[in-house]
């Protein structure tokens, strides 16, 4: 068991989320960077889908009982004796992961332990004093090898979205040519500033299905890329979609950082 000493910024429990329920309005949710979460799980010998802690930083935990942990910042398995503390600071990538050997075993909701910050499903975000249960020893030993920190590629690939024709003809080029600044970021979406994307078709769009990586453009012209807790449907036109494997390039860029599309 671990205890939250300081909850930091946006700390939640995450696993693979709730796929397959979008038709009844349930967001997919799950870790913003599932590969990074899986890596941390592997290091401590967990199955890749074990629930982990996801935090934007500033998380401080104390081991109530002895535990073995690994975070993306220091990707080696670390033993914490009862009473020992560990901090996951802010900095570097936007979202950090802390895996605990045995997995976080809060009660699942709809088959997942993920906190959905949009719909409120799942456990509430972690708060100071929370005691978080940890599961039994898994079969695999903690991994001896240090997982390489993936270099973040500079550019995210994009393809046309379903409503590209609602925008001026050169809009994909504008998306690729502009250095975008992350202005706000959350588990729901990443908002970008740089150039106002100009619409040639006005009026309202009836709500339609969305996917992670879809770039919506509200009337103010600032693109927003959908992330883990994105709503299942939305009424802003989707101009482009980020390649699945590159969504985390955008998602892991902190506020003020630059994102480029190709």
């Amino acid at each position: 068991m671990i205890e939250v000493v300081r909850s930091g910024l946006s700390t939640t429990v995450q696993d693979r989320g709730r796929p397959g329920l979008a038709a009844v309005g349930v967001p997919h949710s799950g870790a913003v960077d599932p590969q990074l979460a899986a890596q941390c799980n592997r290091i401590v010998g967990n199955p890749p889908d074990a629930a982990v802690l996801e935090t934007a930083g500033g998380l401080q935990i104390r081991a109530v009982t002895a535990v073995t942990v690994a975070s993306d910042l220091e990707p080696v398995a670390r033993s914490l004796a009862a009473g020992q503390q560990l901090t996951v600071p802010v900095g570097g990538r936007q979202w950090h992961y802390l895996a605990v050997r045995g997995g976080i075993v809060v009660e699942p909701v709809l088959g997942s332990r993920s906190t959905d910050t949009l719909s409120g499903l799942g456990p509430p975000p972690l708060a100071e004093g929370d005691r978080v249960p940890v599961g039994d020893e898994p079969n695999d030993a903690p991994s001896g090898e240090v997982a390489p920190v993936r270099p973040s590629a500079a550019e995210a690939r994009i393809g046309p979205g379903p409503r590209l024709d609602w925008f001026a003809e050169s809009t994909l080029e504008t998306l690729r040519r502009t250095p975008w600044t992350v202005t706000t970021t959350s588990r729901v979406g990443v908002r970008l500033g740089g150039v106002r994307l100009e619409r040639v078709r006005l009026g309202e769009l009836p709500s339609e299905g969305l996917v992670r990586g879809a770039i919506q453009v509200p009337p103010d012209g600032d693109p927003i890329m959908m992330l883990a807790d994105h709503p299942t449907t939305g009424g802003y036109p989707v101009v482009a979609v980020v390649e699945i494997a590159d969504v985390t390039i955008v998602a892991q860029t902190p506020v003020g950082g630059i994102v480029r599309f190709v």
């Binding site: 009844v24 309005g25 009836p206 339609e208 709503p231 299942t232 449907t233 989707v238 979609v241």
Partner: protein, 202 residues
């Protein structure tokens, strides 16, 4: 129909000749197990596959879907009945806006047969088509910050039941005790796209 791009493992089907919920009901058995999400919305259906390599085959199958066999409606399942107390705070407003009496508003709403067109806004929030034209009113000019769970509402040509207490801008005409969405239940949502629905005065 048109098939619009939505990344390498999804497409958005648009310009359907039938309701997206009806199309999706006709498509679900024909598109194959590689489809992990089939999401009807107001005028479109989103199809998401597990493997980008399968998307082309799914698109071909989508183009071959024939929804006309479901046009009769009987294959969409039995009518789901929702018991309602028609004592909502906005009945009088709706009456005034439509020129009907309060009783007429209630009778008209209860007499209709609805269909779940799509879900969105919140888990289990189902947009129901079939609202009589005489009851088509815009959303409230000032939304409520909190709508009681189970509120039966109308706006913009749809009817709906708020599954949980949430902000809401629709006109509240009644309330049901039914739990529309329960994550511990299987399936969690009582209403899913395509289902016929009636409201029964309690």
């Amino acid at each position: 129909m048109r098939v619009l791009p939505m990344g390498r493992n999804a497409v958005l089907v648009d310009d359907l000749t039938v309701s997206p919920a009806v199309w999706a009901a006709a498509a679900v058995d024909r598109l194959g197990p590689q489809v992990i999400e089939l999401v009807p919305a107001a005028t479109t259906v989103l199809i998401v596959v597990d493997d980008p390599g399968r998307l082309d085959a799914v698109i071909d199958a989508a183009r071959a879907v024939d929804p006309t066999r479901l046009a009769g409606g009987s294959e969409l399942g039995p009518t789901f009945e929702i018991p309602v107390s028609y004592d909502g705070p906005d009945v009088a407003d709706v009456a005034a806006a439509t020129g009907l009496t309060a009783d007429e508003v209630v009778d008209l709403h209860a007499a209709a047969v609805y269909r779940v067109e799509f879900c969105g806004f919140a888990p289990g929030f189902a947009y129901l088509s079939g609202l009589p034209a005489a009851l088509h009113v815009s959303r409230r000019s000032t939304p409520r910050t909190r709508v009681p769970a189970g509120s039966v509402a109308i706006a913009a040509g749809y009817s709906a039941v708020y599954p949980t207490s949430s902000p809401g801008g629709w006109h509240l005409i009644g309330r049901t005790e039914m739990t529309m969405f329960d994550p511990s239940r299987s399936p969690p949502a009582l209403l899913a796209p395509g289902m016929p629905v009636r409201f029964v005065p309690a």
